[in-house]
Amino acid sequence: MQILFDNLQVLFQGLALGSIYSLVALGFVLIIRATNVVNFAQGDFAMLGAYAMVMFFTGLEWPYWLAFIASLVAMAIFGVIFNYGVYYPLRHRSFLPVIISTLGASIFLQNTVLAIFGPQPRPMDKVLAADGITVGGVFLDSQYLVILAVTMAMVLFTYVFFEHTLLGKKLQATSQDKDMARLLGIPVALMISITFIYSAVLGGLAGVLVGPILFVSIGMGSIIALKAFAATIIGGFGDVTGAIVGGLLLGVIESLAAYHISVPYKDAYAFLALFIFLLIRPSGIFGEKVSEKA
């Protein structure tokens, strides 16, 4: 019985961790679909969100919820700046200059934060004061519960937004065929801006939520982004559902393997899983839904 509880405990933590990967992976995928470019600064969105929280909550001592909302608003504004500073000037170029531009942005962001906040990792308060609850023999940490709940809410919101609103459909149309979207009068530049805003807020949210678990540090985004990127490939490159499922799967694989095999190799399992997927099913779980243009 204890073995079952232990495994459930690990599964729970894996799902919560996987939720963070899912949120960042979702941000990845939305930008890939809108611009055909992998944003290598996606992980730094999480890092920035977490540091915004540190600034508003620890630094300015704003109430938790106000700081939380302010961090997300700051990330939304940052999404616009990122679009016009990093992507927009290069939008007519091939994907390579844009990717290099996002890499440059990543280095720039990390060093800017380093210059402002210093190299010491910062602790962060949990969303809820309570430690957690015990159900059966499984301890459910309150922060992990919050992460799961927020992720579910965001996934639901994303689904409704993209599948049931005209704006969501316009965003999809823009990602499928920009010239045709223009011919229909869809403001393509605005649609791409909205995508960056949404993606930055998702990343920032992940950072704020994972901060109390991982500590807030300059490098926190890099490792999350690598896992999230692996999640998008495992789920099916460019697939929204795939990003979510891939992230959760990766979190669970990582946690179970760490528990049963060896903790120090925790990060390696995610990449081992990626490696196996690339060998066996390179198109990912959900593959390519949209057929290539003839």
Binding site: L166, K169, K170, Q172, A173, Q176, D177, D179, M180, A181, R182, L183, L184, G185, I186, P187, V188, K289, V290, S291, K293, A294
Partner: protein, 241 residues
């Protein structure tokens, strides 16, 4: 005053000149066809009108105002709807969603009204009604063409640009499609129709132009064009229309 006027338009793809001083006009309520062989510059002409290509020389006037530097989004909002070559259906959206997005150039129309208009489009194209919730890429070529025209009509265009609507379609479907084009024209929509199928195009047109390697060579009524030996030899395959 012509609804649309091109004055001395030259367009380039990089260093390759696709149009050389093209001047033409389309009056309100007219159905004008632009004929020509592959590579003559027909699609380039339409892309220049809808703003996908900025001309290197000349002007495009719509309702008397220059539009050739406005960009495709602004031009769509003026009431020019371009149904491009290859249909360009959004593959990952459903048929109904594709149609709804056709109205993206119109501001502030409630969703309910758009849904109603989409239903009206299914009355014009009953063949695609039963696929309304299917994804765009699953349709056949003929169905995609109907969807593309339906989507183009959602813009409530003053001017509809149709690029090779008959391309790749079975003869019977082409007949249906042209009957629909005739209907659309009767509703008061001005149409500029690009076609390789000259017989079909001239059967519905008021006037026509012939484009050869980027230059307009002949202009006239369908009767005049059908009677022109040069045109007959080049585009009508020798048989009588």
């Amino acid at each position: 005053m012509a609804l649309l006027e091109l004055r001395g338009i030259s367009s380039h793809y990089g260093n390759v000149q696709a149009l050389k001083g093209v001047s033409l006009h389309v009056n309100e309520g007219e159905l004008v066809t632009l004929l020509g062989a592959n590579g003559a510059g027909k699609s380039t002409t339409l892309k220049t009108i809808s703003g996908l290509i900025v001309p290197t020389e000349g002007e495009v006037l719509f309702e008397g105002k220059p539009i050739h530097r406005a960009g495709p989004e602004a031009i769509a909002r003026l009431g020019i709807s371009h149904v491009p070559e290859g249909r360009r259906i959004f593959p990952g959206l459903t048929v109904r969603e594709n149609i709804l997005l056709g109205a993206s150039n119109r501001k502030g129309v409630p969703r309910k009204q758009l849904e109603k208009e989409a239903d009206e489009k299914f009355e014009i194209f009953p063949e695609i009604r039963r696929f309304e919730n299917a994804l765009g890429w699953t349709l056949s070529g003929g169905q995609q063409q109907m969807l593309a025209v339906a989507r183009g009509l959602m813009a409530e265009p003053k001017l509809l640009l149709l690029d090779e609507p008959s391309l790749g379609l079975a003869p019977l479907i082409v007949q249906n499609l042209f009957a629909t084009i005739r209907d659309i024209r009767k509703r008061g929509v001005t149409i500029l129709l690009v076609e390789q199928n000259a017989n079909m195009a001239l059967s519905v047109a008021d006037r026509g132009y012939v484009l050869e390697t980027g230059t307009l060579t002949v202009e006239g009524t369908p009767k005049e064009l059908l009677g022109n030996e040069q045109v007959r030899a080049a585009y009508l395959g020798g048989h009588h229309g």
